[in-house]
C-alpha cells in the first residue's frame, strides 16, 4: 500500500521508512519544515533544521523513495508554538510534542498524505497500534520500555490511529541503530534529539521573551504561609518541582510547589510539599472514542519520564477526569499530560489542571 513516512532526519523515522520500503510498500517520504529557514531565525532550536531536512533527503535517496519537504510553518506556529508560549505565561508547563503529534503529524501531514492517495502515515515512534476484530484501534506502549513514546500519542483519535503506522513499536533503540548501520543509512550514528526541539539550549524563558517582549513581569516568590522569600521576573521561568534558578537562601532546599499566574506569584516549599494524591485533567481524549465506565483501576503517567503509578480514574463527562493515586506523586505539573494505562494499553489522557 501507499504509505507516507514522516521523516525528521533522525535515525528512528529513517529506519521506519526503510523498513516499510523493504516490506514492499510504496513509501513517500515527507518532511515538515516547521519554521522559516530562510531568515535563520535564532528563536528556534534544532527541530527539523535545514540540516535535518537535508539528512531526511539523503536517507530517502539512500533507500530509494521519493521525498518532499512540506511547509507547515503556519500550522506549527498556530497550533504548537503559540500554545506553548501561552501555557508558560499562564504558569503551566506545556507538552508541545504531544500537540505536534495530534495537530501536525497526524492531522496536517495526514491530510497531505490523503491528497497523495496514501493510506497511512508512518512515524518513528516507539508505540504500537493494534486493530481489534471489531475494527477498533488500540494504542499500546512500545515494547522497549526505555524508549516507549505512547505518552506523547494519547491525544490521537480513532481516525488518526486507523491510519497511523509505527514500524518501530516492537523494536528497541539499539536494534534500530543496528538496522540503520546494516543499511548504511547516513544518519545511523546521529545522536538522539532531546528536550523540546524548537527551543535552543533548553532556554524556554529566553524563547518566550523573544516572542513576547513584554512577558517580563516582576513578581513575588512566597512560602507556603505566604511569606515573601524572594522575587522573580515572570512565572514562565518556572515549572513545578524546579529547584535551580530560584536564587533563594534558605536552610533547606526549596522547590517550586505552585505557580499562580493570576497573582503573578511563585510558591516554594520543601520537597515534601510536592507530593499530591490527586489530579484533575481536562481536554481528555479517550482512545476508544468514549469514556470508559468508572471508577476504573488504571496506571497514570504524569510526565514523559515518570513511571505510571496505580490510581483510580473517574471520568467526568466525556472530556474531563479526576485521578486518585494510591500513593502520593511528586510534582504533578499543570500543562503536562496525564495518560491513563491499563497494562500496556493507553485508554486515554488529558491535560493536567
Amino acid at each position: 500500500m501507499r504509505i507516507v513516512a514522516a521523516m525528521s532526519g533522525g535515525v528512528d523515522s529513517s529506519v521506519a521508512a526503510a523498513l516499510l520500503a523493504e516490506a514492499g510498500h510504496e513509501v513517500i517520504g515527507l518532511s515538515m519544515q516547521l519554521y522559516d529557514q530562510r531568515e535563520g531565525r535564532a528563536s528556534f532550536g534544532s527541530c527539523c533544521t535545514l540540516d535535518d531536512l537535508h539528512d531526511a533527503r539523503r536517507v530517502a535517496a539512500a533507500i530509494g523513495i521519493p521525498h518532499y519537504i512540506l511547509n507547515l510553518e503556519r500550522q506549527f506556529e498556530e497550533r504548537v508554538v503559540d500554545n506553548f508560549v501561552r501555557e508558560y505565561l499562564r504558569g503551566r508547563t506545556p507538552l508541545p510534542c504531544a500537540r505536534c503529534n495530534s495537530e501536525l503529524k497526524f492531522d496536517a501531514l495526514m491530510e497531505r498524505a490523503r491528497r497523495l492517495g496514501a493510506d497511512g502515515v508512518a512515524t518513528g515512534h516507539y508505540a504500537r497500534v493494534e486493530r481489534t476484530e471489531e475494527g477498533r484501534c488500540v494504542l499500546r506502549r512500545g515494547l522497549d520500555a526505555a524508549k516507549d513514546q505512547s505518552y506523547f500519542l494519547f491525544s490521537l483519535t480513532q481516525d488518526q490511529l486507523a491510519r497511523a503506522v509505527f514500524p518501530l513499536g516492537s523494536l528497541s533503540k539499539p536494534q534500530v541503530r543496528a538496522l540503520a548501520r546494516e543499511r548504511n543509512l547516513p544518519v545511523a550514528e546521529k545522536r538522539d534529539s532531546r528536550e523540546i526541539c524548537f527551543v535552543s539550549n533548553d532556554d524556554y524563558a529566553g524563547f518566550i521573551a523573544r516572542r513576547v517582549p513584554d512577558s517580563r513581569r516582576a513578581g513575588l516568590i512566597v512560602d507556603a504561609e505566604g511569606r515573601v522569600v524572594g522575587r522573580h521576573e515572570g512565572v514562565h521561568h518556572f515549572t513545578i518541582g524546579q529547584r535551580k534558578g530560584l536564587h533563594l537562601s534558605a536552610g533547606i532546599p526549596l522547590y517550586v510547589t505552585a505557580i499562580n499566574a493570576d497573582s503573578n506569584t511563585v510558591v516554594v516549599g520543601p520537597r515534601e510539599h510536592l507530593a499530591r494524591r490527586n489530579l484533575a485533567a481536562s481536554g481528555v481524549n479517550w482512545i476508544s472514542g468514549s469514556a470508559p465506565p468508572s471508577p476504573l483501576r488504571v496506571a497514570v503517567q504524569i510526565r514523559s519520564r515518570h513511571v505510571a503509578a496505580p490510581a483510580v480514574l473517574h471520568a467526568q463527562g466525556n472530556d474531563r477526569a479526576t485521578v486518585e493515586f494510591g500513593a502520593p506523586q511528586s510534582a504533578i505539573t499543570p500543562g503536562q499530560a496525564a495518560v491513563f494505562y491499563v497494562d500496556d494499553e493507553v485508554i486515554g489522557g488529558g491535560w493536567i489542571d
Partner: protein
C-alpha cells in the same frame, strides 16, 4: 518514463555541450592567463566561447564578461552600476516587483546600503507598462532594472521602450535576460539596453556559468577584488570548462532558435488548450499574447499547487510552482502576487515550462493524468485549511 516540464528552472545539458566540456577538462587544463602553450590553448577556448555568446545576443565579444551565473551577473550589473553612478550623485535604483530574487534582493541590499529604491507594481497581464516606469523616473535615478522575460509566467517585456524612458532621464538600463536567451531572439543593441545578464543552464549549458553583457562605454565598478581577468570586471581564474560549455550551448541555441520556438509554441498551445478544455476552473496567468513559446502558468481553483506538484511527480511528471529558488516555501509566488492575483489563486498555480526533449506524447500524457489528479485533490480539499 519521466517527463520534464520545468525547463525554466533548468535544462538538461546538451550532449554536444557535455562532450565539449569533457574534452576541455581532459585536454586543455591550462590557466588562460598563463603565457605558455597550455595557457594559450585555454585562452583560445575561452575566446571562442566569448564570441559564440556574443553572437547569440548581437554583441561584440569584448563586451561579454563571464560570471558564475545569472545571479552574479545581476549583482555585478546592479552593484557595479550603482557604485559607478553614486559618484555623480545619482542614488536611486528602480526595478519591478516581479523580478527574480537575484535582482530584488540585490536592490533590497542596496537599499540597506543607503540607496533609494523604487519597486514598480504590475497588473494581471504580467507586462510592465512603460507609463509606470515613466511616472516613476526621477532625476536621481542611477539604474533601472527590468527583466526581459519573466521566469514564472513567460511574459515578454517592452524592453526597448523601457530602456528609452530610462535613458531620457540619464539612467543606466539593465535587463535580466536569463529567461529570454535561447527562447526568443535577443539583440542587445536593438533592445537599447546597457547591461544584460545571461545564464548557461537555462539554454542547455552547464550550471555555474553566466555572463554580463556590458555595453562599451558604460561605467561599471567591479564588485569582487582580485586579479585582472575579464578586463578587470570580474577577477578570478575563469571557469574554462563551464564557459566552453556555455559557448557551445549558445551556438546551438542560435542555430535552433527559430525552429524550436515554433515547435514549442505549438506544444505549449496543445498543453494549454488541452488543460483548459479538460480541467474545469483552470485559468492561464499572464497575458497570453506576449509570452515566450515554452511557458504556461495555469491556476486550478481550489487545488493546493504544492500537493498537485507532488502528485504529478509521483506520476513521473515534473512541474513547478513558481521559481525553483523559492521552493519549499508556501508563500504565494511573489510574481503572481505582484500581478495582483489573490493569494488563493496564486497558491493554486502551476508552471509548465517546455523544452527540447518534450514531445506531443509528453503533453498528451499530462492531459491524461492531470484531470484525475486535480479532481482527487478537489474532492479532498478541506474547507478550513
Amino acid at each position: 518514463m519521466r517527463i520534464y516540464f520545468d525547463h525554466n528552472a533548468t535544462t538538461p545539458v546538451d550532449p554536444e555541450v557535455a562532450d565539449a566540456m569533457f574534452a576541455i577538462c581532459r585536454d586543455a587544463f591550462g590557466n588562460p592567463s598563463s603565457v605558455h602553450h597550455h595557457g594559450q590553448r585555454a585562452k583560445a577556448a575561452l575566446d571562442g566561447a566569448r564570441a559564440a555568446v556574443a553572437d547569440l545576443i548581437g554583441a561584440e565579444a569584448s563586451e561579454v564578461v563571464f560570471t558564475s551565473g545569472g545571479t552574479e551577473a545581476d549583482n555585478l550589473a546592479l552593484r557595479g552600476a550603482a557604485a559607478a553612478a553614486a559618484e555623480t550623485g545619482r542614488r536611486r535604483i528602480v526595478t519591478a516587483a516581479f523580478e527574480h530574487e537575484a535582482v530584488l534582493n540585490t536592490v533590497k541590499a542596496l537599499g540597506r546600503a543607503g540607496y533609494a529604491t523604487t519597486v514598480l507594481p504590475l497588473d494581471a497581464s504580467g507586462v510592465l507598462s512603460p507609463e509606470r516606469l515613466h511616472d516613476a523616473m526621477t532625476a536621481d535615478t542611477a539604474v533601472v532594472s527590468v527583466m526581459h522575460v519573466n521566469n514564472e509566467v513567460g511574459t515578454i517585456q517592452p524592453i526597448a521602450e523601457l530602456a528609452a524612458i530610462a535613458h531620457e532621464r540619464g539612467a543606466v538600463f539593465h535587463t535580466d535576460a536569463v529567461q529570454s536567451a535561447g527562447k526568443i531572439r535577443v539583440d542587445v543593441r536593438a533592445l537599447g539596453v546597457d547591461l544584460a545578464s545571461f545564464s548557461a543552464h537555462k539554454l542547455y549549458g552547464p550550471k555555474g556559468v553566466g555572463a554580463l553583457w556590458i555595453r562599451r562605454g558604460v561605467r561599471l565598478a567591479a564588485v569582487l577584488t582580485g586579479g585582472r581577468q575579464e578586463r578587470n570586471r570580474r577577477p578570478g581564474t575563469e571557469n574554462v570548462p563551464g564557459i566552453v560549455g556555455f559557448g557551445v550551448a549558445a551556438r546551438l541555441a542560435a542555430s535552433r532558435l527559430e525552429k524550436e520556438s515554433s515547435r514549442l509554441a505549438a506544444l505549449r498551445d496543445r498543453l494549454e488548450e488541452g488543460v483548459l478544455a479538460r480541467v474545469a476552473r483552470s485559468e492561464v496567468n499572464g497575458a497570453r499574447a506576449s509570452r515566450v513559446a515554452n511557458t504556461a502558468n495555469i491556476s486550478f481553483a481550489h487545488v493546493e499547487a504544492e500537493s498537485l506538484l507532488i502528485a504529478l511527480d509521483l506520476e513521473g511528471i515534473a512541474v513547478s510552482t513558481g521559481s525553483a529558488c523559492s521552493s519549499g516555501t508556501l508563500e504565494p509566488s511573489h510574481v503572481l502576487k505582484a500581478m495582483g492575483l489573490p493569494s488563493d489563486r496564486a497558491q493554486a498555480s502551476i508552471r509548465f515550462s517546455l523544452g527540447m526533449a518534450n514531445t506531443e506524447q509528453d503533453v498528451d500524457r499530462l492531459l491524461e493524468v492531470l484531470p484525475g489528479v486535480v479532481e482527487r485533490l478537489r474532492n479532498l480539499a478541506p474547507a478550513s485549511r
